[in-house]
């Protein structure tokens, strides 16, 4: 369905052919009271699971990870005992090595300045990413190459997927889809990032995650704010699964990576 939105862009381009132009401008923006942001996940891989705790900061400051030190991070659901995370750098908290299991409801408690923010996420059943393939699309005389993720969607179950694409080790695209239109089918989902001119040896990596519904809604909404997936929307904070007004998301997910090397 996403492809149809390209048509809007096309119509836009035609209108822009007249005189449309873009310019970087200065805009006075408020500096809101900082809020706690939690970016957390539990995967089905045996690894140190990571929780990032930060605060919002002014729009005009350089981009950074505004880490919050001294938070207490505790995960329940993995075995009989809660797992307490340790801080390895400002705002970055790490668990001992373990793997999450599908079907388990994980609960994460993050305490900052005596306020505890809680979120839960159920790890979905795993779907395997079979392969990646390259696809060419022509768009007004310009041909571009995209990567597509190929997998078989399990029938009769509502699935949500997240695609994290890196090109030459740089994170370029983070998007989500669900199986509302293709439940139970062989799916080839094109990731709409223009790969540009690739040379032999360039690596495209896609991490394919199965995520729960709330996580899907969060990332869908986050991407819509930045103009992904269709005509622009009135932006709003994506719905977090944390309580007490924290921003961010806690996702229990299965993970699968595939790489394609340009020959």
């Amino acid at each position: 369905m996403k492809l149809t939105h390209r048509l809007f862009i096309m119509a836009g381009i035609l209108m822009l052919m007249f005189t449309g132009c873009e310019k970087v401008i200065d805009l006075e923006l408020d500096n809101a009271k900082p809020l706690v942001v939690i970016d957390a996940g539990v995967s089905d891989q045996v690894e140190n699971q990571i929780v990032r705790v930060s605060r919002t900061y002014s729009f005009t400051e350089p981009n950074k990870f505004n880490g919050v030190e001294g938070a207490k991070v505790v995960l329940t659901g993995a075995g009989s005992n809660p797992i307490t995370y340790t801080e390895i750098s400002p705002g970055v908290y790490r668990s001992t090595r373990f793997r999450g299991r599908p079907g388990i409801n994980y609960t994460l408690n993050v305490t900052v300045d005596d306020v505890t923010y809680t979120a839960s996420s159920i790890m979905p059943a795993k779907v395997v990413l079979d392969s990646l393939s390259f696809r060419d699309f022509s768009f007004f005389g310009e041909t571009n190459t995209y990567v597509a993720a190929n997998f078989i969607d399990p029938k009769g179950i509502q699935n949500q997927y997240r695609y994290i694409m890196k090109l030459k080790d740089k994170l370029e695209e983070d998007e989500v889809s669900d199986d509302r239109f293709n439940d139970g089918n062989n799916v080839s989902n094109v990731i709409f990032f223009e790969l540009g001119d690739l040379v032999a040896g360039d690596v495209v990596e896609v991490e394919f995650q199965c995520i729960d519904r709330n996580v899907y809604t969060y990332f869908y909404s986050l991407n819509r704010n930045s103009g992904g997936g269709g005509p622009p929307v009135a932006p709003s904070n994506p719905p977090s699964n944390f309580n007490n007004g924290a921003l961010g998301i806690f996702s229990a997910y299965t993970s699968n990576k595939r790489m394609a090397v340009i020959q």
Binding site: G20, D30, T56
Partner: protein
């Protein structure tokens, strides 16, 4: 249907009530008939144009003698007056035409048809009141009329004449965006405008994603917009009524006219079917943006499609003095396609069949059968993801309207209306090789019934009152599975209903009253109260409307939107009606307004109602309007100071927030100068405060990528908007056989970089920084159009 009334308990009483009301209505009318004062006579007839035979809407008919009475010709050019026997002078006037006067001895009922000659000496401006001081004397307020034949002179984007964009230059009517034909009226959203084309509702009134309206001005005869004080015969939308009537066609002879512009061409042909008895009109327009694509030798460019077309057609036939038939239709479509991979098209079709009948000298009747359809088709032709989506909204509509002249102080309008709506939210089909599953989302059916009665009462020389009542009901009909959700959007229950069963009924009385009091011959004060109800709602979660926006009906969860509007105004003409001034104040309270939860996805969402939030709205403001109506130089200034807010428990912690269409100041200045017999110059200046909008008040990172924090909904303003357009029209030499003219225009003369959108993103050259990017759609744009007529 009667059976289901009996079996379904509770709210069906409302439906019965509506039907009873209709019964009572007829009873009341019958009563009037009996109690009529004896000894009065009726004068009636039709007013037409001498050259074309087109009926004239809104001509003023005045009877002076031992008593004075007046009337205005209706949508079909018909008028009716009632008076005591005696000697009178009857005069008929219409702006832009020579006034006709004729002495008359009234001693029996008489039918007099008037044929008016165009008066070229007058140079009336675009927006015309029906008679010179109609704007002061009529109790109607919140009404603006646009004289379509004369909008040619106003500068427009790319030279495409557009009645909807001209409307946006009037106070209280705001553009929905740069170059956009969508509009906001007194704090309403774009879907709260009732747009009628020959009585048929037009669901999507724009082409090419909003840049052009579906109304080809060649085919339009009359256009009225009601911002408030809607007469009781109109209903179904909250904010405004835009009533557009198509040309009937020339009854005297064949003519053709057209124009060639930068992006489209138009042609209209009209003529008699039987001379002086019937006529037809066909008008068509097509854009040729895609022709430029064809110029490319690159197959990935020249195989793309992008165009729209419109066809308006109408025919009428007058059987005898008492019966006239009309058939009119509109068909328009936009088509976009990228070579052999995608296709997307959408459009409206409307058909209206009407029968005018005179039951007696006093009772005029019009019966209409109306069909209206809006649909879109999306095709993805790529092998493994092949699919096609078809979505539509269809109306079958039957209307019976009566106009009844009781006496020269009471004029009654009453009628009934039934509309059956079908909404097909989407039917997804695909080929066997495709990964897309075929899905047919459940259709929804609804029935709207309405009955109305209103009386225009001339209390005395100074005071006029129009009061009336509209009763409307909406019934959601089976078949289908109907869900009820709690406040968090969780399903409480799902109930299946069979075909034709009543799922949910809503009933609303809509009182309407307008009062005018004439202070002097040239000034008056007016006040009005109006309640409007809306049962069909457009869901759009993008910042602009799109052809794929979803229509929904009232349901177990969605309640009818209700607006109560109070308005008061001062109206004054001076310098022998050469200048017109009005000041109107309004306050509007809106209930059951709809917003979405964050992250709502409208595509293929069978549970969209689970994601809706309901709240209230309020809008208030003052509109000032001054116009110079005649002379070589004419034009107007319109200014609106207003506030539009919404209140939802789940948004901004239940605090009032600005609606996106909130703009504090809105100014339009229009000037037209007729320099010589052949040259006309004109100019438009607009200024408005930016819309309320949500911008970030901070940022953070998720998975290493920048995300923005929004602290307040619509807490910011887009940059202020202003623009100056100019145009010049060169009329051809008067020539009986062939006439042509040139229009030259410049849009945005001083190349103001108005913001179409403001985007926030990481600097592509320096990932450590974020930047604000303003996109401007239209800088300075020249245009030229050639028009002809023969």
């Amino acid at each position: 249907m009667v059976k289901s009334f009996l079996f379904l308990p509770g709210h069906d009483v409302d439906m019965l009530f509506t039907i009873r009301f209709i019964g009572i209505l007829f009873f009341v009318i019958a009563g009037f008939q009996v109690s009529l004062a004896q000894g009065k006579f009726i004068i009636n007839g039709v007013v037409t144009d001498s050259a074309t035979g087109e009926t004239l809407i809104g001509a003023s008919i005045k009877l002076t003698g031992k008593s004075t009475s007046g009337s205005v010709s209706n949508s079909y050019g018909f008028y009716s007056l009632s008076t005591d026997p005696g000697s009178y002078e009857l005069s008929v006037s219409f702006v832009g035409y020579k006034t006709v006067k004729q002495p008359i001895d009234v001693n029996k009922d008489v039918r007099i048809n008037f044929v008016l000659e165009e008066d070229n000496r007058l140079n009336e401006v675009v927006i015309s009141a029906v008679k010179r001081n109609e704007n002061v004397s009529s109790p109607q307020m919140g009404l603006q009329k646009v004289n379509v034949r004369e909008i040619n002179n106003i500068p427009v984007l790319l030279g495409e004449r557009d009645v909807l964009k001209t409307l946006q230059l009037l106070p209280g009517i705001k553009s929905a965006g740069e170059g956009n034909s969508g509009f906001y009226v007194r704090g309403g959203s774009t879907d709260q405008n009732l747009i009628l084309l020959d009585e048929a509702p037009v669901y999507n009134a724009s082409h090419l994603l909003g840049f052009f309206s579906t109304f080809n001005s060649d085919a339009i005869k009359d256009l009225s917009v009601y911002k408030g004080g809607m007469p009781a015969q109109y209903g179904g939308r909250l904010a405004s009524v835009l009533d557009i009537k198509m040309n009937d066609g020339n009854r005297k002879g064949f003519t053709a006219e057209g124009g060639i512009g930068l992006i489209s061409s138009r042609l209209k042909v009209e003529g008699p079917i039987v001379k002086d008895k019937g006529s037809f009109m066909i008008s068509a327009r097509r854009t040729y943006l895609d022709a430029f694509l064809k110029l490319s030798s690159d197959s990935s460019i020249n195989s793309n499609t992008l165009f729209f077309y419109d066809v308006n057609a109408k025919a009428n036939y007058q059987i005898d003095d008492k019966n006239t038939l009309f058939l009119s239709g509109y068909f328009g479509r936009d088509k976009l396609g990228i070579s052999d991979s995608f296709g997307f098209n959408w459009g409206n079709a409307t058909v209206t069949m009407r029968w005018n009948h005179l039951y007696s000298n006093r009772l005029f009747s019009n019966t209409s059968l109306i069909y209206s359809n809006y649909n879109y088709v999306i095709q993805n032709l790529m092998e493994e993801n092949n699919f096609e989506v078809n979505s539509a909204i269809k109306d079958f509509n039957i209307k019976q309207d009566f106009e009844y002249s009781i006496s020269n102080s009471h004029n009654l309008k009453f009628g009934i209306n039934a509309i059956h709506h079908t909404i097909d939210p989407g039917n997804l089909t695909s080929t066997a090789a495709s990964s897309v599953n075929e899905t047919d989302y459940e259709n929804r059916n609804g029935l709207e019934l309405a009955a109305y009665i209103s009386d225009e009462w001339t209390v005395n020389e100074k005071m006029n009152v129009v009061y009336g009542l509209r009763l409307s009901s909406f019934s959601l009909l089976g078949p289908g599975n109907f869900k009820t959700y709690d406040a968090d959007g969780n399903t409480i229950n799902t109930t299946p209903y069979g075909s034709g069963r009543f799922v949910k009924n809503y009933f609303n009385p809509e009182p309407r009253i307008s009062v005018s009091y004439q202070l002097t011959g040239s000034s008056s004060i007016k006040t009005a109260y109006t309640r409007n109800v809306q049962n069909i709602h457009l869901m759009s979660n993008s910042t602009s409307t799109s052809p794929t926006d979803l229509y929904i009906m009232n349901s177990n969860n969605v309640k009818p939107e209700i607006a109560d509007q109070f308005a008061a105004g001062y109206f004054r003409n001076f310098n022998d009606d050469n200048y017109e001034f009005s000041a109107e104040l309004y306050y509007k309270w809106m209930q059951n307004q709809i917003e979405y939860r964050s992250g709502t996805d409208l595509r293929g969402n069978g549970n969209v109602e689970a994601d809706l939030l309901y709240g209230d709205g309020r809008a208030y403001g003052i509109e000032l309007f001054i116009k110079k109506r005649f002379g070589k130089f004419n034009g107007w200034v319109g200014y609106t100071l207003s506030r539009t807010e919404r209140n939802f428990d789940a948004i901004s912690e239940g605090q009032w927030f600005y609606a996106k269409q909130d703009r504090t100041h809105d100014l339009s200045v229009v000037g037209i100068y007729k320099a010589s017999a052949r040259w006309t110059f004109s100019s438009v200046f607009v200024y408005n405060t930016g819309n309320a909008v949500t911008y970030p008040s901070g940022k953070y990172q998720i998975n290493g990528r920048t995300a923005f924090y929004y602290s307040e909904k619509n807490g910011y303003r887009t940059p202020e908007y202003h623009r100056l357009d100019v145009s010049a029209t060169l009329e051809g030499k008067p020539n009986k056989k062939f006439y042509s003219s040139w229009s030259f225009g410049i849009y945005n003369l001083y190349n103001r970089q108005n913001a179409f959108s403001i985007d926030f993103k990481d600097d592509p050259d320096d990932a450590s920084k974020t930047q604000v990017v303003r996109t401007t759609l239209f800088g300075i744009i020249p245009s030229v159009t050639w028009n002809f007529k023969f």
